[in-house]
């Protein structure tokens, strides 16, 4: 038996070795030289598709960049970003510059596929002070910067004006402190038409991380191990579970919808906590819904929200690093940022552009812009994907009452840690 196996195996091993040898070899850091030398070069930029407005704005951004620098840009659009990008990186066919979701940044930078940008930034004397700090920090690991944020999104509170007013309340009645929210939702529930739930939220770690950390305990410790079941975390999350069981808060799936934006748009709920991407979705698909927005209620007086941000990052394997950097530099400059955020309707990661576009006076967007200063970035080291997987898997069991919250979180923590221990250490 042994003999039979060993031969094919050794052949495979050999081919593996050849493979390794062929792909090996370290590359030297290549720093931008005189920009005029780059004229006529071509780089590829990897993106995901996004909304129609985003596609249009991105094309405008590319055209402006080519006009400015003479560097041509080819787009590579991913449908299943995470899987395809990984395959491309492994196969050595990844674009020179690509979007990196902050969530993935630590895992990718740990693999050495992202070029640290610090040297380029220094060389170009780029001012980072204008960026929102949480957005920049999301792409830092080991004191190196692996990407510059192209925009960001935060969570805020949406309310349906008509439903709230018909129930005899005004927007000002919605509490600004999380602790008072359940009581208000209870009062609201009695006056809402049947079939309308007071509040709706997507129940996953990406939305709850700031709640779990509000008591001061991070969800991942310095060794990358999950911490989900500390007393202060359970205490912070318990009100949500209670409210869910009292039917004050529901998940979109409970109402038969794919995501909260649709439930809110279909007027199935009066209040929703969602990201600013829901604004354009509701305006486009549910034009009759009159909505207002507020900041997420404070927890014990402290403002909190989540920040989702995406960077332009440089492929460490790219042959056109200097040209790639020029693109990142331009896209995150005031000119580039303005074209992109104005056209796509997203929140710019530069404070000065947010001011220039008067977003702080924009009735709907203002609360989300304000959250840019204090929101918790959705990023927590390279073990976050496992922690989030187990949290999202087990929280529903607690919401349904199959387990207590503490049991569910203990199980999530244990399973995640076992997995992190065996797989990532």
């Amino acid at each position: 038996m042994n003999k039979k196996v060993s031969k094919p195996l050794s052949i495979v091993m050999l081919s593996g070795l050849v493979f390794t040898a062929a792909c090996g070899g370290e590359e030297e850091a290549q720093v931008a030289s005189d920009p005029s030398e780059l004229e006529g070069k071509e780089i590829t930029v990897g993106t995901w598709k996004g909304t129609d407005a985003e596609v249009k704005a991105f094309d405008e951004l590319l055209a402006a960049f080519t006009e400015e620098t003479g560097i041509k840009v080819k787009k590579k659009v991913y449908n299943d970003y995470q899987t395809q990008l990984q395959t491309d990186l492994v196969g050595g066919t990844a674009p020179d510059v690509f979007y990196v979701d902050a969530f993935l940044a630590p895992e990718l930078s740990k693999q050495g596929v992202l070029e640290p940008l610090d040297q380029y930034i220094e060389q170009a004397e780029k001012d980072l002070g204008d960026f929102y700090e949480p957005a920049i920090n999301a792409f830092k690991s080991d004191d190196q910067l692996f990407g510059l944020p192209k925009d960001y999104s935060t969570l805020g509170l949406y309310y349906n004006k008509k439903l709230i007013e018909d129930a005899g309340f005004t927007a000002d009645d919605i509490p600004t402190e999380m602790g008072q929210l359940p009581e208000f939702l209870g009062e609201l529930q009695e006056k809402l038409p049947s079939g309308v739930t007071p509040a709706i939220t997507t129940s996953e770690l990406a939305r709850h991380m700031f709640v779990l950390q509000s008591g001061g305990t991070d969800i991942v410790d310095e060794n990358g191990m999950a911490v989900l079941s500390q007393q202060d975390q359970i205490k912070a999350l318990q009100p949500l579970v209670d409210a869910y069981q009292d039917k004050l808060v529901q998940r979109p799936a409970d109402l038969g919808q794919g995501w909260a934006g649709d439930s809110f748009g279909a007027e199935k709920s009066a209040i929703m906590i969602e990201g600013n991407w829901a604004i354009s979705h509701i305006e486009q698909n549910f034009p009759n819904v009159e909505m207002g927005t507020k900041e997420v209620p404070t927890i014990d007086g402290n403002s909190g929200s989540m920040m989702f941000t995406v960077s332009y990052s440089l492929n460490s394997d790219s042959e056109e690093k200097a040209a790639g950097w020029e693109f990142i530099n331009y896209a995150t400059s005031k000119d580039g940022m303005k074209i992109w955020s104005e056209g796509a309707g997203v929140l710019p990661s530069l404070k000065s552009i947010a001011e220039e576009l008067n977003l702080q006076d924009d009735e709907l967007k203002a609360p989300f812009v304000a959250a840019g200063a204090y929101a918790t970035p959705w990023q927590k080291g390279d073990s976050l994907s496992i922690v989030a997987r187990e949290y999202n898997n087990l929280l529903p069991a607690a919401l349904k009452g199959d387990m207590t919250l503490e049991e569910a979180m203990k199980k999530a923590e244990e399973t995640a840690n076992k997995d992190i221990e065996t797989q990532l250490k």
């Binding site: 495979v12 390794t20 899987t83 898997n393 069991a397 065996t422």
Partner: protein, 321 residues
């Protein structure tokens, strides 16, 4: 010793084609062999490149801790990945789910497919129209089917509406998001979408059963059920074997429905965590665990192989010959 065999073989070939003339043939034989090889070469190349090499490569990866990014580096860890899998509760949960799923789906889909094929072969009216209609689900992509089923079974969907208005349910049931129902919903969906395919295979098998058997049975006074159980089912055993095998393999590889319903997490509370989903999670959702994913894939292969062999033994393919 060999004579009987030789005679058999000779009669075999004689019945199909004139025996080649020995002396002159050798030159032609060789040319034919070369021709044959040339015809097969494209398939062989494709098979080796896209099937055999990847299998061999993943077998190799399953013994390593591998980082495929940048400069690939392997770390030989022997059976560590397999030992980790043995100690991994999630793997056992996935295995339990997958087994439960296969135990439920395979017998039911086989039985329904057989019954439908028998009915459609019995000479009822509009036979061909029915065949076409029943075959349509197989032609639809399974992710599209999942979306349709999610609509049908959703909280405000037609199934809940019908059940509630008939008074069978007090309140709509959330078939897709309740831990107790999620996997069952997928089972129903899968049975519905695979039955037509197996039915078509059974229909083909039914053409091979001589009608004289049924006539003789009718003369002896057998009813339709007796004919089904005593003639159709035993004569279809080889086809049933194929259907069982394909059914088992399909069940153990269940992925897309579970992925879409749970959004890739395998939740709620691991209810839809299948073996393929776990492999996908380690291969593509966490970076640097490709070796573990490969080990799980190899384990899945061994499980499917074993279960298929047991099913074949239980169905006693040889007993009919």
């Amino acid at each position: 010793m060999g004579t009987q065999l030789e005679i058999n073989r000779r009669t075999d070939t004689a019945s199909q084609a004139p025996p080649p003339k020995k002396k002159k043939g050798s030159e032609r034989d060789r040319r034919e062999a070369v021709q044959g090889m040339t015809f097969m070469l494209p398939t062989i190349i494709i098979l080796v490149t896209f099937t055999l090499l990847p299998i061999a490569y993943s077998l190799f990866l399953s013994f390593t801790r591998v980082n495929l990014f940048g400069g690939i580096d392997f770390q030989w860890v022997g059976f560590e990945n397999y030992i980790n899998a043995w100690n991994d509760d999630r793997v056992w949960t996935a295995l339990k789910n997958t087994f439960r799923y296969a135990l439920f789906v395979v017998p039911i889909q086989t039985a329904i497919a057989l019954l439908m094929a028998a009915v459609l072969n019995s000479g009822i009216r509009f036979q061909n129209t029915f065949r076409t209609i029943y075959f349509l689900p197989t032609l639809t992509s399974s992710s599209a089917l999942t979306m349709i089923f999610m609509f049908l079974f959703s909280l405000n969907g037609p199934i809940n509406n019908v059940l509630v208005s008939l008074g069978l349910l007090d309140a709509p049931v959330n078939f897709i998001n309740e831990t107790d129902f999620a996997l069952t919903t997928i089972m129903v969906m899968n049975i519905w979408s695979t039955v037509p395919f197996f039915m078509t295979i059974y229909l083909a098998g039914l053409q091979d059963i001589p009608s004289s058997l049924y006539e003789a049975a009718s003369l002896d006074g057998a009813n339709a059920w007796q004919k089904l159980m005593k003639i159709t089912v035993p004569n279809l055993t080889p086809v049933t074997n194929y259907v069982l095998l394909m059914g088992i393999i399909g069940c153990f590889q269940l992925f897309d429905q579970a992925y879409i319903i749970s959004g890739g997490t395998g939740g709620p509370n691991n209810a839809t965590l299948t073996f393929s989903l776990i492999i996908y999670q380690y291969a593509f959702k966490t970076i640097g665990t490709m070796g573990y994913a490969s080990a799980l894939a190899i384990i899945l292969t061994i499980i499917i192989f074993t279960v298929s062999m047991i099913a074949r033994k239980l169905n006693k393919e040889e007993s009919n010959y």
